[in-house]
């Protein structure tokens, strides 16, 4: 009986019919494609994108205190921190440079920072036309922070 069933299945090509039914069903269900540039997913919590620098409480200068921990912990040696002595003998961060071509986006600098000055936004669209554009100075990092914090809540619209 089982054998007869098998032979009948073969003669009437039921497996092909089942396959055709599956493809037709797939065709009638909506496609899973997202039309990327016009439709962007909301970023996930904790996603690691472009860095930015927070301002301090006065809002006039960077929050960074120039401790150099991020520079020490960076496995790709992408961060360079230069500190000098200010007029009132305080520590001044004269240069904070981030080379995105070296950066591996591990997020160790964010973890290492004792004052939460360097952070990461979910912005992953970092393509640019010039090598100079991937080299981030302190001012550019602060500007990125202003840009990101000004419209917090993600890069795009979601379904």
């Amino acid at each position: 009986m089982n054998k007869l069933k098998k032979v009948l299945r073969m003669i009437f090509m039921l497996e092909i019919v089942e396959g055709m039914a599956l493809t037709l069903k797939t065709m009638l269900t909506p496609a899973v494609t997202r039309q990327y540039p016009t439709f962007k997913r909301k970023s996930f919590a904790g996603s690691r994108g472009l860095h930015y620098m927070d301002r301090d409480d006065s809002g006039l200068k960077e929050r960074c205190i120039g401790c150099g921990l991020c520079e020490a912990v960076c496995p790709a040696k992408a961060i360079t921190v230069v500190t000098t002595k200010g007029p009132n003998y305080e520590k001044v961060v004269s240069a904070y440079e981030l080379d995105l071509l070296r950066c591996v986006f591990c997020g160790f600098c964010v973890d290492a920072c004792p004052v939460n000055a360097i952070k990461m936004s979910p912005n992953f669209e970092l393509a640019c036309y010039s090598r100079r554009d991937v080299f981030f100075t302190k001012d550019r990092l602060i500007a990125e922070g202003d840009k990101y914090l000004g419209k917090k809540g993600g890069a795009g619209n979601d379904q």
């Binding site: 055709m20 797939t26 494609t33």
Partner: protein, 361 residues
């Protein structure tokens, strides 16, 4: 010296149908590519072309422009004449088949014209034979392309396609002979007329079997999945047109879709009543209320639309098969043709001849 009247008659009877037919075929060959990409994409849960025009509607135009402006490359060691002749042979043979196809009964276009005009270019008495012969000659284009390219992949593709087309022409021919036997004619419009009472697909038991044979052989004839061994990408790069680029490649590509159209048109003409409308049980339930009403609505649709609807259904069916089935191995392909389809087609022919002689159909 022909006078004005003769020239005018010639233009009206030959020129207008040819121009209309040519533009119809070319527009279809372009847009069937888009249809195939869209259908395949959606069957694989993708979207397909979306950016060139609304839902990719201008994609065929973009493709055509790209084909035209590509550099025309002929390999240095290729046989130049044969290389450039091969796509033309393939294309002309694909075009030629449409000449004998009747797209509908003679019509006066809802009373616009004073007399009825036929919807075919030529009403050949040997229509089916002519189309099959042209398909056979089209094989030469493939072999020539494979040989002239001076490339081992092309050559393999050409050989495979020659063997495949010749093998599958036989069961296809027998299926067609079965139909010709049932209709009593090789003329395509007479084959359609013979189905005014009963389509050949529902003539038991030979109709469905002959249709199955024709369908399988037709897929193999047009070199489409699951029988697309001549152009098997994973084995032969692109098969016989590996070395072709630009507009020559475009010609091969378009001719493939034209062959698909011819095979689909023949399938609908020979088995599905051509331009005859679908009728639900006209003999048994034809007179009953709602069914009679539906039948009247179906019969009111113009016959040409019925034929085109069947044509597009079969083309969709081919794409559907392509999206579903994996490719056969080469020895399996030959086994199917010679050990299954050929005996089956001979048996079908025998039964059909017996039934005809006994007067059962």
């Amino acid at each position: 010296m022909p006078d004005m009247q003769q020239i005018l008659n010639f233009v009206i009877t030959i020129g207008i149908p040819v121009v209309v037919l040519l533009s119809f075929i070319l527009a279809n060959a372009m847009y069937l590519q888009l249809m195939e990409r869209k259908v395949l994409a959606h069957m694989q849960s993708r979207l397909g072309p979306m950016r060139t025009g609304w839902h990719g509607l201008l994609q065929p135009v973009a493709d055509a422009v790209k084909f035209m402006f590509k550099e025309d490359i002929i390999p240095a060691k290729a046989d130049k004449w044969v290389f450039s002749l091969a796509p033309l042979i393939f294309l002309v043979m694909a075009f030629g088949g449409f000449v004998a196809i009747p797209f509908g009964p003679p019509t006066d276009f809802f009373g616009i014209l004073s007399h009825k005009v036929p919807l075919w270019v030529s009403n050949l008495n040997i229509g089916v034979l002519y189309i099959v012969a042209l398909a056979g000659i089209g094989t030469y284009g493939v072999i020539m392309a494979g040989w002239a390219s001076n490339n081992k992949y092309s050559l393999m593709g050409g050989f495979r396609s020659a063997a495949q087309m010749i093998s599958y022409e036989i069961p296809m021919g027998f299926a067609i002979v079965t139909v010709a036997l049932m209709a009593g004619s090789l003329n395509l419009s007479e084959i359609v007329q013979a189905q005014s009472q009963k389509w050949f697909i529902i003539v038991l038991p030979v109709g469905p079997v002959a249709f199955f044979l024709y369908l399988v052989a037709g897929v193999a004839e047009t070199n489409r999945a699951p029988f697309d061994l001549p152009e098997a990408e994973s084995e032969l790069v692109a098969g016989y047109f590996t070395e072709y680029s630009g507009i020559r490649f475009g010609i091969f590509y378009m001719a493939e879709y034209m062959n698909m159209m011819i095979v689909s048109l023949l399938a609908s003409i020979m088995f599905f009543g051509g331009w005859m409308p679908v009728q639900i049980f006209p003999q048994w339930l034809g007179g009953i209320g709602i069914i009679a009403w539906i039948n009247r609505v179906l019969a009111a649709i113009p016959p040409t639309l019925w034929l085109l609807g069947k044509l597009y259904f079969f083309i969709f069916f081919y794409m559907w098969i392509r999206a579903t089935l994996p490719r056969y191995r080469y020895d399996q392909l030959m086994t199917i043709a010679w050990k299954i389809l050929l005996p089956l087609s001979l048996g079908t022919l025998l039964v059909a001849a017996f039934m005809k002689q006994a007067g059962w159909m």
